[in-house]
């Protein structure tokens, strides 16, 4: 058996590494660097019913060991993603996890219902935690009852398993995770970005046109590790971990915390080859720590 193989609801992964949503577009740009079939899966950019232009620029600002972004869910809309982006991705042997976003329950349900019919979409990632849109998004991600209700509707509408992406911008992440598990989610992905701000010393104004943005990158990894450590002991559905992953060592740390697969986000911007590099490096690390299969590492920090 393949040492890196991971089995999750709807996802039979040849390795546990996937680019995180919003950090990989719909794959085209990175296909110029390597064969996308190398990846365990791809989490495509959030899709909404209608096309969205997103926020004004500047949309990114740098921070120590991280970055702030306020893209604003720019995407070509459901119709175009179904007609162009997903069929294009079909040439690769890689399961797609479609990130579904909206501002009201009906939007999420519509996108989930349609996009889950695409043959290469093996799972959905419910985006209830985007900090950069005015309505919806994060509101669904901060109140457990609201998140649970949305999860129920989307589960009914979707023909593939549903993973819910948790926001770290809550006071009790375990309570949120439990409510979503109870509502029928097949898995969790965590964490989304932390809300932050940077201010320009010359102008005195926030650097981002949206004022606030989502903090990602290595700076947030300890927050994600802590939250996954807590949540993975409290729920029985699997977790895809993310936040500042740059190396095979980071991946192992996420598995130890309780993740069953790992997504790579901001690091793709720094090194377009980061995902295949990590995949290639993982067997060496398993040897170093005496594991035959990566799945053995899951939850080692508390098991």
């Amino acid at each position: 058996m393949n040492r890196l193989q991971v089995e999750l609801p709807g996802l039979s992964l040849k390795n546990p590494i996937m680019p995180a949503s919003g950090c990989f577009g719909f794959g085209k740009e990175y296909s110029k660097f390597y064969d996308l079939s190398t990846l365990g899966a791809i989490m495509i950019k959030a899709t909404t019913v209608e096309p969205r232009f997103g926020n004004s620029t500047p949309r990114v600002a740098e921070t120590s060991a991280g970055m702030l972004n306020a893209i604003g869910l720019q995407n070509p809309g459901l119709e175009k993603v179904m007609a162009e982006e997903l069929p294009w991705l079909d040439q690769f042997d890689v399961p797609i996890i479609a990130n579904v976003a909206g501002s009201q329950i009906e939007d999420y349900v519509k996108v989930a219902k349609e996009i889950s019919k695409a043959s290469n979409v093996h799972a959905l990632e419910l985006n209830i935690s985007c900090p950069n849109v005015k309505t919806g998004g994060i509101a669904f991600g901060t109140i457990p009852e609201v998140a649970a209700e949305l999860t129920k509707y989307v589960k009914e509408a979707s023909s593939v398993p549903v993973y819910v992406k948790l926001s770290p911008n809550v006071s009790n992440i375990v309570e949120m995770a439990k409510a979503i598990e109870e509502a029928g989610a097949d898995g969790l992905t965590m964490i989304n970005t932390l809300i932050g701000m940077r201010i320009d010393l010359k102008t005195g104004n926030p650097i981002l046109a949206n004022k606030t943005g989502g903090l990602s990158g290595p700076a947030i990894k300890p927050v994600a590790i802590r939250m996954i450590h807590e949540v993975s002991q409290a729920v029985s559905i699997p977790i895809i971990g993310m936040g500042g992953v740059q190396s095979a060592e980071d991946v192992l740390e996420y598995f130890y915390a309780g993740a069953s697969a790992v997504a790579v986000g901001t690091a793709n911007f720094v090194d377009p080859y980061v995902c295949p590099s990590i995949i290639e490096d993982l067997p060496r690390l398993l040897d170093k720590y005496g594991f035959e299969y990566i799945s053995e590492c899951q939850g080692r920090s508390w098991k």
Binding site: G54, T57, F269
Partner: protein, 259 residues
Amino acid sequence: MIKKEQMKIVSHIQIAEDIFELTLAGELVLAMNDPGQFVHVKVSDGMDPLLRRPISIANINQEKQECTLIYRREGLGTRVLSEKNIEQLVDVLGPLGNGFPVEEVGVGETALLVGGGIGVPPLYELSKRLVAKGVKVIHVLGFQSKSAVFYEEKFNGLGETYIATVDGTVGTKGFVTDVISNNGIIFDTLYSCGPTPMLKALEAAFPDRNAYISLEERMGCGIGACFACVCHLQDDPEGYTYKKVCSDGPVFKVGEVVL
């Protein structure tokens, strides 16, 4: 073809106040085709700063497999870069973006190249290419002050060169648009790179001319994946259509995108 390479520093000198000229050697140079393209430079081996820095290419020497970047020491990233020494390696991703279309101006015609501040460097490689093709070039270069002026002689060697400074310490006091109108400069094609207000002024002054402008924007990935550097189109200013400065640009025809 975009490549990632550890390029070697051949020379690194300060050529004006806070302005540095960095010459790098590596195979990546062989992929550099068009003047106006840029590279994405990882200035730190660690995580601070985390992202790469987009820097335009000022000179390409394919024979020696060397390229020259000119940048302004402004923030943390360029400060870290400015401290690097000869023989050190720099992680470079490139060449990125689409450059200036040299084919848009014919042999014997006149091209006007207008640069502002740190927008001046890519015009040097462009000017060399145009001159090699048999195009007459005129340069109008704007700087803040005398201390910030660089490459004046190099541009002079390629064609007529006018300097403008905001404080009047050298050349014409005022903006590049003043220089163009005061000197009655006539041209067939306009190429420009510089701050957005300057590009806007040029667009307003020459709305119907064959003109190409290079934009600057904060970037994440530099390859079109992160949607950080997106701009609206002029024929759909409020709509969903867009261009990415990094991968659709940075050079656009005047009138294509909203400045």
